[in-house]
Every structure is written in C-alpha cells, then in structure tokens.
C-alpha cells in the first residue's frame, strides 16, 4: 500500500524535473535578445491601455459557487458507491435521496438564475 504511494511520490519528482530539463536546454539553444518593444504586453497590436487586473463578471463567482456545492456532493458519493455490497437497500435509497435533494438544488439554482451567463 505504502509502496504504491511511494511510486506516486517518486513519479511526482520525475514529472516535475522532466519538463524542466528541455526548457533549460532551450534556454541555451534559443537566442536571447530582449528588447523593450518585444517585451510589451500584447493588446491586439496597439499600446496597452489600463491596468491588467480588470474587473470581471460576477457570473464567474456564481458558477464557482455552484461547482463547489456539487463538488463536495460528489466527493461524498464515492464512499457510498464503493460500499454497495455491504449496504442494505435502505442504505442505497438513502444515497439516492441525497442525490434527489441535490437534483432539487440544481433546479433551485437554475430558477434563481445562478446558471445564466449573460
């Protein structure tokens, strides 16, 4: 068991290094001629206007909030899905009731307009 996670830990180290190596190699292979004009921020071909960190629409926050609720729900569903053999039919129906309540939550969010983009 621990050896499995040890593999993932070592894998994490390897995949953190492996893409880094070609990027470092390219630092030596590629030309380096920095220029104040080249480093300017792209703005469709004209000079940059205004700050970078602009205000953004509140709909992003709405979607993120709805996602958070559903994400926590589906994380709770995983243990229920595994313990199928040990659960009685009542246990399965309890989980189904949980899912039905969340379905109602989706409909409520839909009704309140939390899923509108415009």
């Amino acid at each position: 068991m621990v050896s499995n996670w040890l593999f993932i830990g070592i894998f994490l180290l390897i995949v953190a290094i492996f893409p880094g190596a070609p990027i470092l190699i390219a630092y030596f292979l590629a030309p380096r001629k920095p220029n104040s004009l080249k480093s300017q921020i792209y703005e469709c071909g004209i000079e940059t206007v205004g700050d970078t960190w602009v205000q953004f629409k509140v709909q992003y926050y709405n979607f993120a909030l709805t996602f958070l609720i559903f994400d926590v729900e589906i994380v709770f569903l995983f243990p229920w899905a595994i313990a199928f053999n040990q659960l009685s039919i009542f246990g399965v129906l309890a989980g189904v009731l949980f899912l039905v309540i969340l379905f109602a939550e989706l409909l409520a969010a839909w009704q309140k307009g939390a899923l509108e983009w415009v």
Binding site: S3, N4, W5, L6, F7, I8, I10, F11, L12, L13, I14, V15, A16, F18, P19, G20, P22, I23, A26, L29, A30, P31, R32, K33, P34, S39, I41, Y42, E43, C44, G50, T52, W53, V54, F56, Y60, F63, T66, F67, F70, D71, I74, V75, L77, F78, A81, I82, F84, I89, V92, L93, G95, V96, L99, L102, L106, W110, L115, E116, W117
Partner: protein
C-alpha cells in the same frame, strides 16, 4: 518465452534480482525500480506525443479535404521533428511585469499534471504504475491540476486577455468536472471499487455495453476538460486571441501544446480503462504483451474519435457551453447514477444472471437517451429555425430601381 509474452514483468524481475544480488537494501531497490518505471513512462509518453501530433494533423487535413503535412519524410510522418527543432530554438520573450516564478512554473505544471495521470492506468494484466485503491479520485484530482496550471499561466502573464481567457477556461473546466465525476461514478458502482486496476479486472463484459450513456457523457465532458474542439474556446484565435498562452513563446508554449495533445490521449486511455475493458481481450491473460497491444489499439481508436469530432463540429459559445454542461449534462448524469445504483442493488440482492444485468442496465441507458431526445425535440419545437425566405428578385438592368413616382423638384 517469458520475455516475449510478458516482457515488462520479466525485465523488471531481472533488474530487481540484479540489484538485490549486488547487495542493495530492499527499500533502495524499490526506489530505484520506481525511478526507472516513472522515467520510462514519462519519456515514452513525451515521445508518443511526436506520433500523436503528426497523426492528428494528417487526420484533420483529410477530414477537411486536404492532405496533412506531406513533405517531410514518407507521407509527412516525420513532420514533428523539424517542428520540435523550431520550437527549441525560438526565443523566450518574457512579458514585462510578469510574475517570473509562476510564469515559468505554469507550463511545467501543465505537463506534469498530464503525465501524472499515467501512473494509475493499467497497461497490461500485471503492469500498472501504482495500484492504489482510490484511482478514480486520483484521476479527477490530478486532472484538476491542469486547470490550476492554466489559471496560473493566465494570471501571471500580466495581460488582460490572458486573464480573461484563463477565467473562461476555469469556468468551462469546473462546469464539466461535475458531470465527468458523475459519469466516472457509474463504473465505480458497477465494479464496487475506485481502483482503476480493479475496475479493469471486474469488467466481465465491457462497461460500454452496460452503460453507453455514461461512456458518452464521459467522452463529451472529458473533451471539454481537455479543451478540445468543439470546446476549444480557450485557445481560439478569433475569440480570445490565443487565450491563456498569449505571452508564451518558444518551448514553454511548446509544452502547453504537448500537454494538450497528451491530455487528449490520456483521457482516451482513461475512457478505455473505465469502459472498454482496458487491456482485456482474447488471449490477454496468458500473453500479457497482447494486453498492452489491445490497450494501445483501443486508446488510439478513441483518440481517433476525438479527432473526428474535432474536425466535424463548430465551436460552441461560452454561454451555450455552460448551459449545456449545467442544465443538460448534470441532470442526466445524476439521473443515470440514481437509476444505475438502484438497479445494481436490486440485481445484486436478487442474484441476477449476467444477461439480466446487461439487459437491465442497457435499458436504463437507452431510456434516458430517449428522454434526452424528447427534450431536445421539444426545445427545437419551441424555437423554430427560421426558414430562409427565397423570393425571386428581378434585377432591372440599366435602369434605376427607384420607382418613378416623385415629381421633379
């Protein structure tokens, strides 16, 4: 014979015995074997991208009625090599005011997130990187690292458009995370385990036959997670001017490119492992090398499916995309999970035979597909398509089209 039929296990045992024979401690031997395994997987996947890119370009070309690249090498198959040389030798232009550490971390993290997914997918009967028993949760969690990498890229580029592109990308990806996990929950229920190895082992019959709707939902949502067409709003040239990777050049952009193609291939591998039986096939138990070949063939077929969809469908708008994800996919996936769970428990209690299980699950899926079709038809009936009005218009040659009614001033 053992070398030919089960090469990976044979070579792994040989190396392990060699290292133990040299007198190294068992823990050190395990670490060295893990390093070797991880290194081989990473290098193999990064080299596989070379094949994937040229395959995709030629297929997209053929779907669009043209040849793909056909100058470099036989039939253009060596195209990626000069492409890689070009990308290696392009200059890194760092935008002014960019957050240097995060700016450089983002492409590395994007590629790492994709490579990490290959640790838990079984390639052959006993060949799997790591047989953890929470494989599905691991896949979802590590897949979300890619989303984080995109957000970091957009945020650290000091560019309004990169930031907006990154926000949109994250909105798209989190909207499709929920139906994806719900669709992944169906094989977990059917196999009673979250471990990917156990799900592959438990597929007495491919789960695509038991749950075709779950396969379809996973296919669609996985393509939205990767950001491939028709959901490639994030990097569409005409929409948001290349999105989160505007300010990246050279190999850093190359790694975003590589990460996208490899992610598409990885997600095909995940779909194959979950629904198409992974390495299962005739003779795979006795000759594990055949298992690996079956796995690769199936993954390439699903990858071909994603390329086909990319070449055939137009891009969707962001509000259509989010509406489709939340209002259609999430209710359908929830209903599918509910029905699958109840049916599976009933049949487990009644100890039904295999045929009955297959039929019941298939009927549930097809009924839901029918419900979906009925809903779509109802939507279309409410919003009729405008028929183009075709009146014959006469063109008056050599004469004004203004009617001669106004008196002269």
């Amino acid at each position: 014979m053992a070398l030919l039929s089960d090469p990976v296990i044979f070579i792994a045992n040989w190396i392990e015995n060699l290292l133990l024979g040299w007198g190294l401690a068992p823990l050190l031997v395990t670490i060295i074997m893990d390093l070797l395994g991880a290194g081989i997987i990473s290098v193999a996947m990064l080299l596989l991208v070379v094949i994937l890119i040229v395959l995709e370009r030629k297929l997209i070309g053929r779907l669009q009625g043209r040849f793909g690249p056909n100058r470099v090498g036989p039939y253009g198959l060596l195209q990626t090599i000069p492409d890689m040389i070009k990308i290696f030798t392009k200059e890194y232009i760092t935008p002014q005011g960019a957050d240097i550490f995060i700016y450089n971390l983002a492409p590395i993290m994007a590629t790492s997130a994709v490579l990490l997914l290959w640790a838990v997918i079984p390639y052959a009967p006993r060949v799997v990187g790591s047989d953890i028993n929470v494989g599905v949760l691991y896949l979802v969690a590590v897949g979300a690292l890619g989303t984080l990498a995109i957000l970091l890229a957009g945020f650290s580029s000091n560019n309004k458009y990169a930031l907006l592109g990154a926000f949109r990308t994250v909105a798209q990806m989190i909207s499709y995370e929920v139906p994806m996990v719900l669709a992944l929950l169906v094989p977990v229920i059917l196999a009673r385990s979250m471990g990917v190895n156990e799900i592959v082992n438990a597929q007495y019959v491919w789960y695509v036959i038991l749950a075709p709707l779950a396969t379809l939902i996973l296919f669609i949502t996985a393509m939205a997670e990767v950001g491939r067409a028709p959901f490639d709003l994030l990097e569409a040239e005409s929409e948001i001017v290349a999105g989160f990777h505007i300010e990246y050049s050279g190999l850093k952009f190359g790694f975003f490119y590589v990460a996208e193609f490899l992610h598409a291939f990885t997600i095909s591998g995940v779909i194959v492992a979950m629904f198409f039986g992974g390495w299962r096939g005739p003779g795979a138990e006795t000759y594990p090398i055949l298992g690996f070949i079956y796995f690769m063939i199936k993954t390439f077929l699903i990858y071909f499916g994603t390329i086909w969809v990319r070449g055939s469908l137009p891009r969707v708008r962001i509000d259509q995309l989010l509406g489709f994800g939340w209002k259609i996919l999430v209710p359908v996936a929830l209903t599918l999970v509910i029905f699958t769970a109840v049916a599976e428990k009933m049949m487990f209690l009644m100890a039904a035979t295999v045929i009955v299980r297959i039929l019941v699950h298939l009927v549930i899926n097809l009924l839901l597909v029918l419900v979906l079709i009925v809903i779509f038809r109802a939507q279309e009936a409410r919003r009729p398509l405008r028929k183009p009005v075709a009146e014959p218009r006469t063109v008056a040659l050599g004469r004004h089209s203004v009617p001669p009614e106004s008196p002269s001033a």
